[in-house]
Symmetry: C2
Subunit: 354 residues, 2 copies
DNA sequence: CTGTTAGCGCGTTCAT
DNA sequence: ATGAACGCGCTAACAG
């Protein structure tokens, strides 16, 4: 019932092998026969059997992109950019030629799902895997991921890290593009300090995530550099990377220390929740309390007042990861590149009152 | 070099078929042998060969979710919700058992890529396909998509539409969950009219998209109902569904008619751009100009003033689509369900001045 | 409950 | 430049 390569061969009056050669375009084929074959393909509306093809060739053209939260533009932007580089423009026929195809896998930030998807991609003999965003720092999980990635690499899968720190053993990774979260976090807090703030609350992301830790370390480095120490734990509240969490954490922060003059949030989305909490309390931004975010997502410039934040070149990084995954671009020296984070000063931060 | 099912069978001292049976869990197997087999699997670190498995079984456990723009939370929320229902919790081992696996495919809103991905999923013998968001109205493309979906359905793939209108021939579709974009658009404009607005500009989405057309029709229906006609085209500017486009279109709108007292945007993201354009012009929201969006994305409640918009239950719809795709939920009568849109009145709309 | 036997549809040697 | 034959790794009958 479903038309196979043999059917096409029969109609084109050639051998199955020839059809295969035409379709893959790897071997020389006479122009006339190629023509006949292609017409037969169209006539019969033939679609290659992917599993059969992958089985015989021991490879596939799938490239998996793992993201922690697909509803978060932070990941969407990177994944979309990567996919733009990978997918190619298509040939307009919808025939799905030889180009690679990117698929996005949403781990929800959980270690189990991350491993499950890696196994799936291993099963599918994926051509490449791109892991985006921060990693969970649980040692057992990191070891499991490293082992899995090593196996993928052994099987010929190109592994790329985007916005994620290198592995302890990074040899199985083609390239690791790490964001300078620590540096960005430090500069952001330095900005606040330079405005005169001393009592700064920090709404952190989930514990045990590299992104959370690095941003927080940057913040604390800056504080320490000017001699503000001892209150770190009291002025830090952890939560997840969403608006709601930002709201709740800020409420808690203001309860613990009503005297804070600035709130630094784990990212822009969290900052949005923080601003809501501050306003609901009847305070103004930035007159009463300054607020800062991280990432510089598209909406950040449009909120009122515009959000001071740290810009991460998400699109560029994702695109580069895509090129690395397809081998279009040479890996950086040592397989590791650090991507700079740029401070964006806007209206949500100002000197403290008095 | 790579370990196969036969290797596992040898080590467990059973036949390959038995190994297959315990892995798929479809046939009865003695507890003791199952135990042996599973240990052998772990010992050898065996990973099923997906292509071989799919080839032999003529099906796969992949479920494709097509989205127009993965960087847009509108799609991210739906895709994430669908995937939550599809993916199952995983078994914690990362072994990737029998459950279905959702993969997200980013079409970028282009017809070619949409067809390319459908072909890919057809190749992979996908278990189901979920198409999210509005469709392009080009007749040729619609015919091509319909034909492709019919073929997928023939091959046993379950096709679900989420946030997309039913096909002309909807028989190959398990279920179409359509948003009431027209009703939502109408109620939104009725709200503005009831506040006293008469000069309302409309920043529309891309032409030739069902979502764009339906929302716009709802708006015009409401205008027509109170006898405001004749100026539709002049007070409508089309653009893409992003912030930048909303900004530019609003600038153009204000150029054409500086007297407008309200701007209705194609969606919340576009509305964000519109507010920026209005503010840059030195006008206040809502005192000088009211602004309204559509979708009620998470950030909309946090912008200042909070955005009046139309709430679409994106998460719920996506989750339902996921259940429909996996067969966990029975399709609605006739395979078509309309999902209600709820007006959310907030601070960005107010009576016009004077 | 378990082993045996055939393919699934294609890519890839080898020939020619 | 093309054809013939083999096998990729697994599942699905069919026995037993």
């Amino acid at each position: 019932m479903t038309v196979t390569l043999a059917d096409v061969a029969a109609r084109a009056r050639v051998s199955p092998a020839t059809v295969s050669r035409v379709l893959n375009g790897n071997y020389p084929v006479a122009a006339s026969t190629r023509e006949r074959v292609l017409r037969a393909v169209d006539d019969l509306d033939y679609v290659l059997n992917g599993p059969a093809s992958s089985l015989a060739a021991a490879t596939s053209d799938l490239i998996g992109i793992l993201v922690n939260d697909i509803a978060d533009p932070f990941f969407g932007i990177m994944a979309g950019a990567a996919q733009t580089e990978i997918g190619g423009p298509g040939d307009g026929s919808g025939r799905a030629g030889g180009e690679k195809l990117a698929i996005v896998c949403n781990t929800g930030g959980t270690p189990e799902r991350e491993l499950t998807y890696l196994t799936l991609l291993q099963r599918q003999r994926a051509a490449a895997v791109v892991l985006t965003g921060g990693a969970v720092e649980d040692p057992a999980h990191q070891a499991a991921v490293s082992a899995k990635l090593a196996k993928l690499a052994d099987a010929g899968t190109r592994v790329v890290l985007c916005g994620r720190p290198p592995l302890a053993d990074n040899t199985s990774v083609v390239a690791a593009l790490a964001f300078d979260n620590r540096g960005g976090g430090r500069r952001l807090t330095e900005h606040l300090l330079s405005l005169g703030h001393r009592d700064i609350g920090y709404v952190a992301g989930p514990v045990e995530r590299t992104t959370t830790r690095h941003r927080l370390e940057g913040h604390r480095d800056a504080m320490k550099a000017v001699g503000i120490v001892g209150d770190e734990d009291r002025l830090t509240v952890h939560g997840s990377y969403d608006r709601r969490s930002g709201y709740d954490a800020t409420v808690e922060l203001l309860r613990r220390e009503p005297g804070i003059t600035a709130v630094v949030a784990a990212n822009d989305t969290v900052a949005l929740g923080a601003t809501a909490a501050i306003r609901d309390r009847g305070l103004r931004i930035p007159e009463d309390i300054s607020v800062a975010g991280f990432d510089d997502l598209p909406f950040s410039v449009d909120v009122v007042p515009a959000l001071t934040t740290v810009r991460l070149p998400l699109f560029e990084a994702g695109a580069r990861a895509g090129r690395l995954a397809t081998g279009k671009e040479a890996p950086p020296p040592g397989g590791i590149a650090t991507i700079a984070a740029e401070l964006m000063v806007r209206g949500s931060t100002a000197p403290p009152r008095g």
